[in-house]
Symmetry: C2
Subunit: 404 residues, 2 copies
């Protein structure tokens, strides 16, 4: 079971967490709980480091920001004990949760589970801090923001257990219910679909944790934390494709308004030009998402359009204009008022016509498609961001997602 910062925001919330844990423990399950720092706490600690020095030493930064989790594990363990559930907290270094030495963005390399399993023999619940681990030379490391989901999946993988992520939503939806009221909660979704949904802007789970769950086949359940602990809701199960009997052609629709579009007009159409352009961006550590190159009419110049994260736009333009080898083109256009819509479904692999439905639905609404890209289980289009909501509703209806 994993509980994030808002789930342990104060003592009353932690009592609610304890009630969820007690329910599972009462049902006879062996339980390990991974918890984040109390909401706002990690931000407070990060702000302290920022107020101290502009570029803190990563190891010292980790020492400071990982302290919040020690508070929440201690409090949860003592509350569990007082409700009659034997429990003990484990610091990351105690189990230990071993990581790479990359401070502030360490990877988990190994988790020793003896302590947890010895405790289970006496029906003891293990309470484990997310986000932290220990480097090969014994220093405290952190996994980066959102790392608690990753900690939870890694602990579950090491234990051969299921991982229930308790959060502030009651499951994964066909799309954002705030935008499309007809959005429906999914009973199951495959890792691949969840990954596309997550990287396409759905913020339910950290991409990294879903990838880890997929690799180790850890069943991942998204459950509402602020629910009556005595009436558990199954939430949404993220699992392997084989366990999804009724495969939907389209499972969900994601959107992102964090995109920016760059168009290079009149680029010399010669071998190596693309690698030069995208090499310059890669060197500047900028991820490029959708790419479209038009056929060049005369075989000498071409137009190239691609998207980057909105936050990277300025750096991207700078890298292209002032890199080691500035890109030669007639004109460089950049635009931020764009949104990316993605239709996702493992059923696409075996069904044609998914793209046509998308284009027809948007066409009927008079919405212009600026760029198209696709993968095995996803089709994405770039549109004017003002049209996002209308487009989402049209697509949700076109694929009949409001009914199972």
């Amino acid at each position: 079971m994993k509980f994030g910062g808002t789930s342990v925001a104060d003592v009353a919330c932690i009592r609610n967490v304890a009630a969820h844990v007690k329910r599972e423990w009462d049902a006879g399950h062996d339980v390990a709980v991974v918890v984040s720092a109390m909401a706002g706490e990690t931000n407070r600690l990060v702000a302290l480091t920022a107020a101290s020095v502009p570029r803190p030493d990563p190891a010292e930064y980790d020492m400071v920001v990982a302290s919040g989790e020690l508070v929440s594990v201690g409090l949860l363990a003592m509350i569990l004990q007082s409700s009659g559930v034997p429990a003990r907290s484990w610091a990351g270094r105690q189990l230990p949760i071993e990581t790479s030495p990359d401070h502030t963005k360490a990877r988990i390399t190994h988790i020793a589970t003896d302590g947890i399993e010895d405790g289970w023999k006496e029906r003891q619940v293990a309470v484990i801090p997310g986000f932290q681990g220990i480097s090969p030379d014994g220093r405290l490391t952190t996994l980066g923001r959102g790392g608690s989901d990753t900690s939870a999946v890694a602990v579950a993988a090491a234990l051969g257990a299921q991982c229930d992520i308790y959060t502030d939503v009651d499951g994964v939806y066909t799309t954002d219910p705030r935008m499309v009221p007809e959005a429906r909660k999914l009973e199951r979704i495959s890792y691949e679909e969840m990954l596309e949904l997550a990287s396409q802007g759905a913020k339910v789970l950290q991409t990294r944790s879903v990838e880890l769950a997929k690799i180790h086949s850890v069943p991942l359940r998204v459950v509402l934390s602020f629910a009556d602990p005595t009436k558990p809701d199954p939430g949404t199960l993220v699992c392997s494709e084989d366990e999804i009997v009724e495969k939907q052609i389209v499972t969900g629709i994601a959107y992102s308004r964090d995109e920016a579009k760059i168009t290079l007009l009149g680029v010399a159409d010669e071998p190596g030009i693309a690698s030069r352009i995208f090499g310059a961006l890669a060197e500047a550590n900028i991820n490029v998402d959708m790419i479209v190159q038009n056929i060049s009419e005369d075989g000498r110049v071409t137009d190239l359009t691609f998207t980057v994260d909105k936050a990277d736009l300025e750096n991207a333009v700078e890298a292209l204009k002032k890199g080691k080898e500035p890109v030669k083109c007639r004109k460089l256009l950049s635009e931020t008022g764009v949104a990316k819509l993605s239709v996702i479904g493992i059923g696409m692999r075996s069904h044609a016509g998914v793209a046509r439905t998308m284009f027809e639905a948007l066409g009927k609404e008079g919405i212009n498609i600026q760029v198209i890209s696709n993968s095995e289980i996803k089709i994405s289009v770039l549109i004017d961001s003002k049209e996002t909501e209308r487009a989402m509703k049209a697509l949700h209806a076109a694929y009949g997602l409001e009914t199972a």
Copy 2:
């Protein structure tokens, strides 16, 4: 060097601490710094545990309350680095600081200094959290409130170093300057005198840390933290008697208003009666301080007066009246409006007349002495607490303490 909570209360304070450390480091010293949690932080954490459960598990309590020190060591280490001083933080478990398994009141059993000394070879400053350690089974322990002074002295003892306690006063005074403006800062004071001063109510140093310094002959210096770090003041050195050339007959005067007086009238004067009375109090975990037994006139009954901590008064009366063997006496009187004044000085051992000066000075002021007790280097009297200030001033003048 040790800095308490108010010395690291915010980032600006920690910068000031770093400047003190840098001064010593620039002077070529090898430095280890012990720091407390930022002021208010430990109280906040204790309040969280109190809000969680009435009687928290001691091990989980330690996990929660010791997290504050990890923040201050990380921040200090990164600020030192940014000011050009190589530094690294060490958690209690990293050195390690080994302790007994008594959670919330652990005793330090051993400190490994290899890490600190290896760092010193590269001129690295070691930044160490006070108050925390690690139990034989690897769990986090705390030393109890004020334990950071003890941590600092223990680290200094392990390193064979001097221990400078930076605090919110600039040294040890002949008496409380808020009460007696003529109070004078002492250049040196012996461990024994400091122990009497500390346990008599002067709050500069934790008794436990002075005891530890005495056992291991660690020179202890009390220095003002909020001073200009470029103009260090020597503060007061607490050291062994041999190092004090000019021994004062009286070094200081302490007072305590935390006393309560209990008088048993008409107790049967028979063998074993005292051990029965004080045994009952010891069993209830109550420390008895001053004791006076009057000579019994007829050899059958006697009167007995003693003092206890004001906070223990109710429990003490209960233990005497309702213990296993209730104490038989004609009447039990208790009173809280009393103060204890103590005149302290190692010179007393070789000089007579110290008590007479005290009694004369108080007598001249018309102040009644209720109880008297003494030790080798101390004479204490119990008086009406309303007379405290007047009595202190009279004694300070009588012993000529305003001049060295």
